[in-house]
Assembly symmetry: C3
Homo-oligomer: 377 residues x 3
C-alpha cells in the first residue's frame, strides 16, 4: 500500500561516551529530523555528520528539517553546538516508529442561514514554531470564538486545522462531495511577525474574496500588500488545485521563507507580537463582515434625490467631519441603489470602507428609502 | 400639503435707532438670508447675532446663505461690517412672503433630424453671483445662438435653465415620459474663473459623453482635467439619479466649494474672465460636434491601400507638416473603415483630434472611397 | 490601361564636355532616380539642378529617391559632389525603359500538419541598401533554412519576398482565396542596425502574434520595445488593410525614417551587424516556437498536488537555481492544467519564458500527469 506511515517519536539523542547527551530531543523538539526513521548505533562524528543539519549563517539557531519522502534519520542543532563537538565516538538514538496509523485534523463548523460556507484553514504540523504556524492556530481559534458569539450569519463558517499539504488533501478527499458549498475561503498562518499583512490571491484572482481582501486592506490602518497567486506556499495550493479551484485566498504577514527566523528555533514566542495577531484577527473579521453582509439594495425613491433631513438622517453623529462622511455615505448608497451595484461596489466607487456604506444603507432601509433585494427572495 | 412655498422678497434691512440702514438688501441682494421668513422687530445686537452670517476668514466679503429646509430669517454681511456695529438696539425688517406659488424655468429646444436629444442644463438660482452661476447662463445662451445658426443637426438640442436641485427635479418630473430621448447631456456652470476645464463623469462613467469629453479635453489647447462622479455637486445628481440615469456629465472650471470666492460677494463680474467663457463655449461646441458627427464608415476599396495621389487627396493644404498630418489622417480613416470603429474610435487610435479624422473621412467619402453607414440606413 | 509599367534600367550618367562621367549609375545604383524615364540631352547645370537630389545635411551620402507616381527623371548624388560641379554644360543620359512587363516575387512554402499557415514577408525593392532591406531578405532566408531542417510543424510556413506595397498587394490579389489560412504573420526588415528589436502590433492589437511577440520580447536578453499599429510603414499596411485584416505584425529594429542612414548610401553592409541579424533571427524563431507549440493541457491528477519526486521529476537538472526554476515550472504547469489556460497563458502568469513551461508540460505529459487536449482531437 501507498499510504504514508504515521510517525511516532518518543526520544532522540546523541550522547558522548560519558553518557552525556550532546543533542537532546527532550531539550528542543526541533533537534530531531522530523519523520526520522528509528536508529540505535555508535559512530564517529565523521560518520554522524551526514545526518546533522545546521545553519552556518545563523550559528545559534536550530533549523527545522523534515524528510517525509526519503527515509532518513538525523538531528538538527545549532552550528555553534556542532563546532563544539569533539571528534569522537557517539551513541545515536532515534526512538521512533513509522507504521500504519491515522491522520488527525480538527474541524469546527458554525452553521449559517444558507448552505453556503466560508472556509478558514490553518496548518498544524510545525512543532515548536510560533509564527509558522502557532500564530495561525491562535488566530483561527480566536476568530471561532468571535463568530460563535455573533448573531445569525448568512454563510456557515468552517474552520479546519490540518497538517500542511497531506492534511488539506486528506480533508478535501473526505469532503469532496460538499466542497461546492465553499464560496469563500482563507488560508491563514504567519500572522504574528512585525511585517505588514500580505494577502495572496486565488488561482485566477477572480474570486469574491480577492476583491474583498483587497478592499479591506486598502482601507486598513496598518500597512499591507496584495500578491498574485503562485503554486508554492501553504494549503492554498491544494484548495486551488484545478480539480477543486475553490475561491480560497491566503492571509499572512511576511511570507514563508523570506524572514530569517523562518523554520528555525528563532521562530519562538518572542518573535510573535500579540498586537499583530489582534490586528490580523480584526482584518479577517472585517473581510468576513463584507462577505456576510454584502448585498444589493433598490431605491424606493430613485427619481431625483429624496430629502434626507426630514427623515432625520442628517443628525445622527456629532462631529462635523464625521457627519459629512456619513452624509456622503448616504448619498453614495442612494445614488447606486439600482440593483447593479452591491454595497462593496459602492464602497469601492466611494473609496471608503465597506462598513460606512453598509451602515448608511441600513439607515436608509430603516426609513424605507432602500429595500434589500436579498430579503425579497 | 408638502410643496415648498414660493419666496418673494421685497425688502430686508437692519436699521439703527437713527433710522440708518446698517444692513440693506437694496445695497446687495446677498444681505438677506435666501428664503428668509418675514419679520419686523426691534432687538439688541446680542439677540440679533444669531441671525447674522459672516465669513471671519474673508472679513470683507458677504457670504451667500440659504435656509430652504429650516424656516428661519437672517442677514449676511461682511465680518468687518459686523465688527463695526455698536452694541445697541436695531430695527429688523424682512419684507418677504412664503406662500403657494410657482416654480419657473426656461427651456429652449432646437430640433434635430432624429428624435434623439442632447440636454444642456444650467442652474439659475444664485442671486448676484457671477461664476456660480451667471457664467453657466451666459455660456448656455451663447451656445444656443451658435447652434441655432448652424445647418441641420442630427440630435435636437434642449437647453434648460432651472433652479438648482428642485428645478431639475421638477423638470424631470414634468418630462418623465420624454427623457428617454436624451442620449447625451452636460450640466454647465462655473465656467469663467481662471482654473482649467474640469469634466465630471456620469454616474457609471460609461456614457458616450464621458468618452467624448475626455477626448476633446485631451486635445484641448488649454489645461483640463477629468474627475469621477460623486453624488454631490450640481444638477448632474438629479439627471444621474438611478431612476433616470441619463448620460449627463458636467463641465465646470474650479469645482464648487474649492475656490475662496465661492458663495461670497467675491464671486462678482470681475472674477469672471470673458476669454475663459469663450474657451469653455468652444470646448462644449467641440464636444457636441463629436456627438453630432460621429459615425461609422465602410471602405469601398478595403483590400490593400488605394492610391490617394491620383484622386487628388495629397495636395489640399499647403504646409509640409500640415500635409503630413492630413495624409496620416486619410490613412487612419481608411485603415479602420470596416464598420467596427467610429470616427471617434479612429481619432483615439491615432491620438489626434476628432475633427481631423472627420474631415479626412469626409474627403474620402467625396471621392467614393468611404461610405457613411448611417447614410445607408 | 492602369497597370504600372515595368522599369528596366541599363545605364544612367551625367558627363562633362570632356566625356568624363561626373555622376555614374555604374559606380552606384543609387545615382539614378528609381523609375526614371529615359532621357538623352545636353543642358547647363542650372537646368539640370531641378533633377539632382542631394542631402545637404549629410553631404557625403547619396540619397535613395523614387518617382513611381509622377513620371520624371533624375540623379541622386552627394551634396559634396554637387558643390564640386562646375557651372557648365553636361550630357545627360538615362538609358531606361518603362513598358508593360511583369512583377516578380519569391515565395517558399514549408507545409505543416494542418492547413493553417504562418506568413513571413519581407520587401525586396530597395537597391544597394543593406539594413532596409537586405537584412530582411537575409534573415528570412536563414529562417527558411532553419525551419526546413526542423521536424514536422503544426502550421505551414510561407515566406514571401515582394517589392514593397505593390508586391504585397499583388500577392494578396493572387492569393485572396487562400489568405484565410494565414493565422499568424510577421513582416520583417531592418534587422541589422544597432537598435533594440521593435515589434509593431497588428491593426487591432488583438492577434495572437501580438501576445506572442510581446511575451518573447519581454523575456528576451537584449533590449526591445513594442509599438502600436499606425497605417504607415512597410507591408503590414497591406496585410492589415480592412478587407484582409490578417494577424500580421512587424519586427524591425530602429524604425524606418528614424535613423540618419535610412534611404541613403550610408545604409551599406558595414551598417549591418551580423550579431544583430542572428539575435533577430533567434527572436523570430522563438516567436514561431510559441505559435507552433502552444496548446492546452488537462491534468490527469487535478485534485491536490501529485507527488513529483516519486515520478523522477525533481532531479533532471544539476544546478540548485536551475532546479528550483524547473520545479516551479512543473508546479505552474500543473496548477493551471484545466483546459482554460494555454501554455502561453501559464508562462505569462508565471512570468517565465514560454519554453520553460512548455518543457515542464512535456515532462509531465511523459509521466502521464498531463494530456495535450489538441492530441485528443
Amino acid at each position: 500500500m501507498d499510504d504514508p506511515h504515521e510517525w511516532t517519536i518518543r526520544d532522540a539523542n546523541v550522547a558522548d561516551m560519558a553518557g552525556q547527551r550532546v543533542i537532546d530531543f527532550k531539550a528542543h523538539t526541533l533537534h530531531v529530523l522530523s519523520y526520522s526513521a528509528p536508529i540505535r548505533a555508535r559512530m564517529r562524528l565523521s560518520e554522524l555528520r551526514a545526518h546533522l543539519f545546521t545553519l552556518p549563517d545563523q550559528p545559534d539557531r536550530i533549523p527545522y528539517r523534515t524528510s517525509y519522502y526519503n527515509e532518513n534519520w538525523g538531528f538538527c542543532l545549532s552550528h555553534a553546538a556542532l563546532e563544539a563537538l569533539p571528534e569522537a565516538e557517539y551513541d545515536v538514538v532515534v526512538d521512533s516508529t513509522l507504521a500504519p496509523g491515522v491522520l488527525n485534523y480538527g474541524e469546527l463548523f458554525l452553521p449559517g442561514q444558507t448552505e453556503d460556507e466560508i472556509l478558514i484553514s490553518t496548518h498544524i504540523c510545525h512543532p515548536s514554531l510560533a509564527n509558522d504556524n502557532l500564530s495561525g492556530i491562535a488566530v483561527a481559534s480566536a476568530l471561532a470564538q468571535r463568530i460563535a458569539a455573533m448573531p445569525a450569519r448568512r454563510f456557515g463558517v468552517r474552520i479546519v486545522f490540518v497538517p500542511g499539504t497531506i492534511g488539506a488533501i486528506a480533508w478535501l478527499a473526505r469532503n469532496e462531495s460538499n466542497v461546492h458549498r465553499i464560496k469563500h475561503g482563507l488560508v491563514i498562518t504567519g500572522l504574528g511577525d512585525a511585517g505588514p499583512l500580505v494577502y495572496k490571491q486565488t488561482r485566477r484572482a477572480d474570486a469574491p474574496i480577492d476583491r474583498v481582501a483587497a478592499h479591506v486592506l486598502r482601507h486598513w490602518p496598518t500597512p499591507s500588500r496584495v500578491i498574485g497567486f503562485d503554486p508554492y506556499g501553504y494549503d492554498e495550493r491544494q484548495y486551488n488545485s484545478p480539480g477543486f479551484s475553490l475561491g480560497v485566498g491566503r492571509l499572512t504577514r511576511t511570507p514563508h521563507g523570506t524572514f530569517k527566523e523562518y523554520h528555525t528555533s528563532g521562530d519562538h514566542l518572542d518573535f510573535v507580537d500579540p498586537n499583530q495577531l489582534t490586528d490580523a484577527l480584526n482584518a479577517i473579521e472585517a473581510m468576513l463582515d463584507v462577505v456576510q453582509t454584502d448585498t444589493f439594495y433598490l431605491s424606493q425613491n430613485p427619481k431625483g434625490e429624496p430629502r434626507l433631513g426630514k427623515r432625520g438622517l442628517y443628525r445622527t453623529v456629532a462631529g462635523q467631519a464625521d457627519r459629512q462622511r456619513q452624509e456622503m455615505a448616504l448619498l453614495w448608497a442612494l445614488a447606486y441603489a439600482d440593483g447593479q451595484d452591491s454595497l462593496l461596489d459602492i464602497a469601492e466607487r466611494a473609496s471608503v470602507p465597506f462598513r460606512e456604506i453598509a451602515e448608511a444603507a441600513q439607515a436608509l432601509e430603516v426609513v424605507g428609502l432602500l429595500v434589500d433585494t436579498r430579503a425579497k427572495v
